[in-house]
Amino acid sequence: MRRPNASKNQAKTTGMNILDPLRWKIHEQLVTGQPNPLNLARLRWGTQRDIAMLQSEISRLPPSQNNFFCIDLTPFERIGNPAALVRVARLHPRCRPVILTIGDSVLQQFKQLPDSEKETVEFARYHANGAFDRVIAGTKLNPVSAGILERYKSLSDLRSVVAEQRLTELLFGDNCLDLPGPGKPDRYTKVCGQWYRKMPNGMLVSCYLNLKEIGKSPEELTALAYEIILPASGYFRRDRDELAQFAAFVVPNNTALLLTSPVQAILEKPVICIDKLGPIPSITQQDKRTLELICGRDVILVEEVIATGNEVDRTMLFLSNAKARVQRVIALYNLEVGRPLLIEQEQIISLSKPRRELRYVYRSDF
């Protein structure tokens, strides 16, 4: 049986380490049931609790092929306590901390710190529209991160790479991948020497992505929701309010609804499930009140896995009939077997394309 490329051991050593303090704050607020969690979490970073959480996460960083790690403070409106931030960030024994920021407010505070504290911390500054500006190091030596961060012209490029890395790692967690093999003749079949899984539409796949296993714990749900929120919000750019550009999220099946429910809790934008769309969309079976929520509105379609793209197309047909405008499609995993035909490629944001790692094959039974 051919195994996918990436193994669990390989997943442990990551390409780039980025810490997301906003994600931890959002998770805390979800646990306590706080209203308006995103805006409250973004207001300010720098309390004692924030510093303690950062310290705890830095101590758990996995080994990386780079000699730096990033702390993404770009989403926060205000950042306080720069001395404690720098002190904690320098705790990692081998890697240099790079603090990602938008604007100059943190840098102004950083400049007032004594030289001994500024020596081994770097700042990567981005413009209000998310475009990369420069890396500023605290010492006269060349910053270690500049050569790598400069390759990504904007925050969205950098975060896209990190999202791909993270989601691919999650995929190789426990029980997320169903690899066909002998033992279950009703589920698996062998064709041309390789085992495949039978799908309900009669096609065969070399492995099956069971995203319900990824989304079963609240921490992992928050991690996935955060990856969806980043492109939906335009990576928190300051020149435009991307979140105001759409009214709701639409999901085409129950698994996507499970993974997008935390997004609803975080952004307080409704998530509408349009399921039971077989080969012929059952329009009359859909709830009229639900359709009223999206009629004439801009929506974002969230799909957990795109394989052939048919489910996206069916949903697009339905939404078109319901007079909703699909702004973008955000797909957690795109297996690139086919592609949706009723939407432009530029409007599809695929957070991870693991076809090569999975050696994914989609074929008929002939």
Partner: protein, 576 residues
């Protein structure tokens, strides 16, 4: 824990532990040790002779234990010296209103009846009387004839007394808590570069007061049958009597785990032990969770949600034995516990009834309700009326055949309901409060509309979440029906609508055949429709709960029994 009034030596130990015993500690222009010692002397004088003997103890020993719980929360909140000083003063002051008949006549300018206030009036108004005394003292409108006064009459000392009073008297009821919420001077800020969080202190005092409902507060257990009490009040007494203490531990600076160590008389029969366990679970654990939820709501309302308390309240697994004191009748206790209604009939803090006025659940015949199924009544309040209004606006009256085979005259899609995050939040808060003490480890959303609610509940209960649904036609992918928990879990099933429970029962059949059933299963739905009996012959679900019951919806088990089919009404089949 000490049960006698605390001596000066014990109070000095408190000051040492709070690091305030050094007489030169100056906080906001007030010498902490001087201030606290004067408050102690005044309250010690107030509590020298206890007035109300038929209530639980409210004296300084109670204050001492509350302060102990406050110190236990230090791992979560990192109390500053000023906060410690204010809380200690508030803990000493908070119940002085129970002694109004003692100190009232000694206060020049104080109006009290000739024969003193009645017992009920003392209890109901103890916060108001205590606050009135302190605030009038601060403003110089009363002259205390009993020495010593609460503090020196200087601004540096009156300010912390004034603040401590606001914190102290918000411990009961909603009135003083409301003042703290509305007035901006009580918002969290920094005083001399250190945290000052008066609202959090008020919330902490409420929780610590609730934690100290244990046997140490029962002064005269043998007289419980002598006083003119209702059985409901006796059950509240017994719920304190059988709790030895509460242990608070902080985990990773995030979670406060509160374990109630309970006790049973030596050689109790298993039925009595079970009844005591049920009583404590329903009256102590439930009320403590309710209080924590109330405090968290208050902090969220004040935009200080970062101080909300994440807690895990449970009873210790095994009780300890104790020798029951003479005069306490075991048989009478057993009788009172056997007739327990299972829920407190009123909130002892606000006096508001917790049971809705109308009977929402029609009586079930004994054969259809097993001993293990507890029909928990829905909650009253604005949430219920909002849900009922939504149902009336969104129902579609017609003749339907549902996927589970039943026929009905009303159909409703709950998807637009669960797209409302504010409503979901309220629903999830209520569900998690109700089930938190059960140790739920898995949440299962049954059906599409239940998934967002199940996710919100799973966050609050910090457990795994999955979904499933009743697939009545082939072609559904198997993994869509699989779940993420096993036999060792305690499961909470969340559904949007329950009618006969047949769908839930069939889902459990499927789970049993595939992976085995979890240890304990509870069911909570938003709506309960119709008046059918629950069809769960194997009685696997321990309790059914819901928010709104709508009994007028018609259900028939199948086509043969359906009167609408007999009348020839057009039938619409629910989509598969």
């Amino acid at each position: 824990m000490s049960t006698a009034p605390i001596s000066k030596k014990e109070f000095n130990e408190i000051l040492d532990r709070a690091e305030l015993s050094n007489s030169s500690v100056l906080l906001d222009d007030c010498y902490a040790a001087t201030f606290l010692n004067s408050v102690w002397e005044a309250t010690h004088a107030i509590w020298e002779n206890v007035d109300q003997k038929n209530y639980t103890r409210h004296g300084l020993d109670h204050s001492y234990r509350i302060i102990g719980y406050f110190f236990a929360l230090d791992g979560l909140y990192d109390w500053t010296p000023y906060e410690r000083m204010l809380f200690i003063a508030a803990a000493l002051l908070h119940d002085i209103g129970m002694q109004v008949n003692i100190w009232g006549p000694s206060v020049k300018g104080w109006k009290s009846p000739e024969k003193g206030f009645s017992t009920d009036s003392v209890r109901r108004n103890h916060c108001r009387n205590g606050f009135k005394l302190i605030s009038q003292f601060v403003r110089g409108k009363v002259e205390l004839k009993f020495p010593p006064p609460f503090c020196e009459r200087r601004t540096g000392y009156l300010t912390p007394l004034h603040r401590a009073a606001h914190i102290a008297f918000a411990h009961s009821g909603e009135e003083y808590l409301g003042y703290l919420a509305k007035d901006d001077q009580w918002r969290a800020c920094k005083l001399q570069a250190e945290n000052y969080r008066p609202r959090l202190l008020a919330g902490a005092l409420r929780i610590c007061d609730e934690l100290d409902l244990c046997c140490s507060r029962i002064a005269y257990p043998e007289q419980i049958w002598g006083w003119n009490f209702s059985d409901e009040s006796r059950r509240h007494w017994l719920a304190c009597y059988f709790v030895e203490a509460c242990e608070v531990k902080i985990h990773e600076k995030k979670l406060a785990s509160m374990e109630l160590r309970w006790r049973t008389p030596i050689a109790s029969k298993s039925a009595l032990v079970k009844n005591i366990s049920t009583l404590i679970s329903k009256l102590r654990v439930f009320k403590l969770n309710q209080e924590i939820q109330r405090v968290n709501s208050f902090l969220k309302q004040c935009n200080e949600a970062e101080y909300c308390l994440m807690s895990d309240v449970k009873m210790s697994k095994q009780p300890v034995d104790f020798a029951i004191s003479g005069g306490v009748s075991l048989s009478k206790i057993g009788e009172v516990l056997r007739t327990a209604s299972g829920r407190p009939s009123s909130d002892t803090r606000t006096g508001k009834s917790l049971v809705p006025a109308e009977a929402a659940v029609p009586p079930q015949s004994p054969s259809s309700v097993s001993e293990n199924i507890q029909l928990i009544r829905p909650f009253s309040g604005p949430l219920k009326s909002t849900l009922r209004k939504w149902f009336d606006e969104n129902k579609v009256p017609h003749h339907y055949a549902l996927r589970n085979g039943e026929h009905t005259d009303t159909y409703v899609h709950c998807r637009s309901l669960v797209s409302n995050q504010e409503l979901l939040r309220n629903l999830a808060d209520t569900i998690s409060m109700q089930h938190r003490h059960r140790g739920i480890t898995a949440v299962l959303g049954v059906g599409t509309s239940a998934i967002p609610l199940a996710v919100n509940v799973a966050y609050r209960l910090n457990c795994c979440v999955s979904f499933t649904f009743l697939a009545t036609s082939p072609g559904y992918h198997e993994t869509e029906l699989e779940v993420a928990f096993g036999r060792k879990h305690k499961l909470l099933m969340i559904d949007d609508i329950i009618s006969s429970g047949r769908a839930a029962s069939r889902i459990l059949d499927r789970l049993r055949d595939r992976d085995g059933l979890p240890q304990e299963i509870y069911h909570h739905s938003i709506f309960r429709l119709g008046r059918q009996r629950y069809t769960d012959p194997e009685r696997r679900i321990r309790s059914y709960s819901w928010f709104v019951h709508i009994p007028e919806v018609y259900y028939a088990p199948g086509e043969r029994e359906c009167s609408l089919c007999r009348a020839g009404t057009e039938l619409i089949k629910e989509s598969v």
